[in-house]
């Protein structure tokens, strides 16, 4: 087994790490950096719980090889809150019960974050489409969609 030295930015911090062959971004985040906000809910590419942003675009961390991330910027759920508290999107999920058990929430919030950066005022259909790779078993998605809509209105 070989390892590669890898330098990337995670949540604004530059990190240099040794990555073995086949290491996924999900393993890098959870096991090496202890950033356990990003979840694993399936055996690869089925549930969306591990959604993170790579250079601003949503990706599944479980299907992303760490070795491909040299020089790139990764954002996880842990990056959204600032000194004054959680982001408007996170607050909307909290106040409108867009989260129940919370396990899909980090991936769901990151997918919504990517959408709102691209399209600050998406239609309901666009929201549903953007979140369609993220499974939730608790909410029926009703309050998740409401949360994203509320956050979009707050950004107005």
């Amino acid at each position: 087994m070989t390892t590669h030295l890898l330098t990337l930015t995670v949540n604004g911090r530059e990190r240099t790490l040794a990555a073995r062959d086949g290491l996924t971004l999900l393993e890098l985040l959870r096991d090496a950096l202890m950033l356990t906000g990003t979840k694993q809910g399936c055996d690869g590419g089925e549930c969306g719980a591990c959604t993170v942003l790579i250079d601003g675009e949503p990706h599944l961390a479980c299907l992303t090889l760490a070795a491909r991330l040299d020089g790139r910027a990764v954002e996880t759920i842990e990056s959204l809150a600032g000194p004054s508290g959680v982001s408007a999107l996170q607050r909307a999920f909290h106040e409108r019960l867009g989260t129940q058990c919370g396990f899909c929430t980090p991936g769901m919030v990151m997918a919504a974050e990517a959408l709102l950066r691209r399209e600050p005022h998406p239609s309901e259909a666009r929201i549903r489409e953007a979140l369609s790779g993220n499974l939730c078993r608790c909410t029926g998605y009703v309050k998740i969609v409401e949360s994203v809509q509320a956050a979009a209105e707050d950004r107005a």
Partner: protein, 802 residues
């Protein structure tokens, strides 16, 4: 300490969080990624656990040779069924499962042996090095085969491979059918489901070699049952076990019984002498199973011309899988809640729970009652059509009025079903829109409705120990904060938030003073767990009483400081006054006065179900008994593509009688989630096996709907205050599910005129039904015209099953 004339600063007004839309107290942890689930817990140096599973569906274990695996580098432990002291099962009279198979294997994927190793590669190498010799036996993958004469038995003590047969008779069924103007008999089939909670199964077990003690962190909904089962299967004293429930990523019943991997992790930790982390894959999480069984139902219902239900006759066969689990409860629930929703004349119920060589079924949201509700409401919908009655009118002809004792001795103290019916009839525009929806080829619209109910906790606990159903403790200390100590397992439903609301309401204090410590057996009182929708009702009642006990202590301390009788203290939460308000204390002063006498204050409250709610005296009578029934009515609007058989749900209107909505925001969320899970069962969800091999053990083949398919769910909360519920509250998480599949099937019938009696209603099934109808229409066009007595669509009173 002296009482002041005025408080030092303006005290907050009395708080009334009950009934307020309250975000979850742990919601910010969840949205920020701080919430730690079992797999997130930092245990540096923990060894990696892995389970080796049977490739054979049924067989005698001749030998399991672990010597080569043990000799590999980095391997810390290899265990088999021989490493356990006793079998287990959540129901004390049905314990026939070992954490790792002993003697026999009974399904493909059953855990056979397990390893702990330094890392995943070493663990995988160890699994591959174990040699297993199994002599195959004939296997039964369906109920007919398992029940056939001469079938090989899965369990030697269970003749006919029957886990449980139920025969319940209430009233004179034959007289009831004789009195009926219409009788319809139909057969139904419901596919097996999976819970599909998002969090993978995982446990971390720590064995303290010095103290010979075990600590387990796990994904459980029932830490207390897990605690008992760990002690039993590992041969430990219960005092040597500690169970901690971290954040849990959903349950829906998957985790309401102790699960094999939890005991395996513990046994590995003991064998290795340290800490073992075991995380299952999604495929293994599907294999752990315990969900809603594949069910065959034959149902006959008789009604008078006015719609009164005179008799019900039902047979239910459940394909239970290889072990008991909750099986006997599931088959009893199917009978108990089949008819208790309505006033009915007489009931005959026959139920069979069958052992098969498949992963064991168990409890799933709406436990036992969902599939029979589909059948019952579907037959009612058909009868309404035959009688020329509106489906709402047929339900209204059979409503119960509390207080009411059902035929099977269940006590109903409150019932808001009439208001639920009114609410969804109005909200959906039923009267104005039904029969007048826009129709075009490829987009046929229809409306359907159905009702349901569910228990607020089983009135008799699984372990009948004589203890109260629920205990909640409160700690008040020098800092003026109150800590709620509860064993109740918050799995996302918001139980910790609810307990904080109840205690804050009783004490009139802001929620900011209250913390909740939940589900750690070393710290919190025992609780039976989060199942059968018991927590709001039972633990809520215990929290209410704990709050009252603390308030009493505080009022007495305030009275002493104010120099008045306790009865003369006006308690306002952040402050209190003597009558007339001339002297007052703020909360900090009251706390100092109370602690001056006793130091840190701890009080507790407990609650038990009254005997009259615990059901009748016949065998199996306890199942279905509850202190409070919730009620639900549902309207579903669909659009059916009659060229492809695809069904799109446009909107659901649901009304749920939850008693007092302690947290309307959370209740809405629960009801919407229940409706959505019901739609999943109605439209897409179905496990599939080939000779015992699961073919859909992933989220691509087991289809859980996405945000694109989910419809708006309009929720009306009906608050029929229950006399026994805390502030009148009842359950909100399950009862809204049962009515969804039948309402959807009725809507499909309204749209395209065919009745689907098999779930899920997939495009291929619906298309097949449409094609068959077309063929039938062509055939009947070629036949001579029917006699008036046998008009199409009508079933004569003596009709044979469809």
């Amino acid at each position: 300490m002296k009482a002041q004339t005025l408080p030092a600063r303006d005290a907050a007004p009395p708080a009334h969080p009950v009934g307020q839309r309250t975000p979850l107290i742990d919601g910010l942890d969840k949205v920020s990624g701080r919430a730690r689930y079992t797999a997130d817990l930092p245990f540096p140096g923990a060894w990696v656990g892995r389970i080796g599973r049977s490739l054979i569906a049924h067989g005698l274990i001749r030998s399991i040779d672990t010597a080569a695996a043990r000799a590999l580098p980095g391997v810390r432990a290899v265990i088999t069924g021989a490493d356990f002291a006793a079998p287990y099962g959540v129901i004390p009279i049905a314990q026939n499962e070992w954490p790792l198979a002993r003697g026999k294997v009974r399904y493909r994927g059953e855990p056979l042996f397990a390893v702990a190793a330094d890392d995943e590669a070493a663990a995988e190498a160890a699994l591959a090095a174990v040699r297993v010799d199994i002599e195959p036996l004939p296997a039964h993958f369906d109920c007919d085969s398992a029940r056939a004469p001469g079938a090989v038995l899965l369990h030697d003590d269970k003749a006919g491979n029957l886990e449980r047969s139920v025969e319940h008779d209430f009233g004179d069924v034959e007289a009831g059918f004789a009195r009926a103007d219409r009788v319809v008999e139909r057969r139904f089939h419901c596919a097996e489901l999976a819970h599909a909670q998002l969090e993978l199964n995982a446990s971390v077990a720590q064995w303290d070699v010095g103290q010979q003690r075990l600590t387990v962190h796990s994904v459980t909904q029932v830490p207390y049952y897990l605690h008992l089962t760990l002690a039993q299967t590992l041969g430990l004293d219960t005092s040597a076990v500690r169970v901690v429930k971290p954040f849990v990523g959903g349950g829906f019943g998957h985790r309401v019984e102790p699960l094999n991997f939890e005991m395996v992790t513990a046994a590995l930790a003991r064998a290795a002498g340290g800490t073992v982390r075991l995380e299952l894959t999604r495929e293994e999480t599907f294999l752990t199973h315990r969900a809603r069984p594949d069910s065959d139902i034959r149902l006959r219902i008789g009604v008078t011309a006015a719609g009164e239900i005179t008799a019900v006759d039902a047979e239910v066969v459940q394909r239970g899988g290889a072990y008991a689990g909750y099986g006997l409860v599931t088959i009893l629930y199917a009978g108990a809640l089949l008819h208790a929703l309505y006033r009915v004349g007489a009931v005959r119920y026959r139920g069979w729970r069958v052992y098969t060589n498949l992963p064991p079924c168990g409890a799933m949201r709406g436990h036992g009652a969902v599939n029979v509700r589909f059948a019952f409401e579907s037959v009612l919908d058909e009868l309404a059509g035959e009688l020329g009655l509106d489906p709402f009118a047929l339900r209204r002809a059979n409503l119960i009025t509390p207080p009411y004792r059902t035929l099977n001795d269940l006590q109903v103290n409150s019932c808001g079903l009439p208001q639920c019916l009114d609410a969804v009839e109005r909200a959906s525009g039923w009267r104005e829109r039904r029969g007048r929806l826009p129709q075009r080829p490829g987009a046929r619209r229809g409306l359907g409705m159905a009702c349901s109910h569910y228990v607020s906790g089983s009135a008799k606990p699984v372990h009948w120990s004589g203890e109260p159903h629920a205990v909640v403790a409160l700690k008040l200390d020098f800092d003026g904060s109150i800590t709620i100590l509860s064993g109740a397992a918050d799995i996302g439903q918001g139980s910790s938030t609810l307990l904080a609301q109840v205690v804050a309401e009783v004490l009139l204090l802001p929620m900011s003073r209250i913390r909740v410590v939940a589900a750690d057996s070393a710290l919190t009182p025992k609780d039976n767990g989060s199942y059968s929708s018991r927590v709001s009702f039972m633990v809520g009642n215990a929290a209410l009483r704990a709050g009252q006990a603390l308030r009493e202590v505080l009022v007495e301390a305030a009275a002493r400081s104010l120099g008045c009788r306790a009865g003369a203290v006006e308690w306002l939460g952040e402050r209190c006054t003597s009558t007339g308000g001339e002297r007052s204390l703020d909360f900090a002063q009251v706390v100092r006065a109370a602690l001056a006498d006793s130091g840190t204050l701890t009080v507790k409250g407990s609650w038990s179900t009254p005997p009259e709610t615990q059901g009748g005296k016949f065998r199996g009578a306890a199942v279905g008994s509850t202190a409070g029934f919730s009620y639900s009515a549902q309207v579903v609007e669909v659009e059916v593509d009659d060229e492809t058989g695809a069904v799109r749900v446009l909107q659901c209107w649901t009304a749920h009688d939850c008693g007092r909505a302690l947290n309307p925001l959370a209740v809405e969320g629960q009801v919407q989630g229940a409706v959505w899970m019901g739609l999943g069962q109605a439209l897409t969800e179905e496990t599939h096996y080939h000779e015992g091999l699961p073919l859909r053990a992933n989220f691509l083949d087991y289809r859980v709907g996405t945000a694109v398919e989910s419809p708006p769910v309009d929720v009306t909360l009906v608050e029929s205050l229950d006399p026994l519920g805390p502030f009148g509250a009842k359950e909100a998480s399950e009862g809204g599910l049962h009515s969804v599949p039948p309402a959807l099937a009725a809507a499909v019938h309204d749209a395209v005129g065919v009745r689907l009696r098999e779930l899920p209603i997939t495009p291929d099934r619906l298309l097949q039904a449409l094609v068959e109808r077309q063929r039938e229409q062509r055939r009947s066009a070629r036949r001579p015209p029917p006699t008036p007595a046998a008009a199409p669509g009508a079933t004569p009173a003596t009709g044979r099953p469809a």
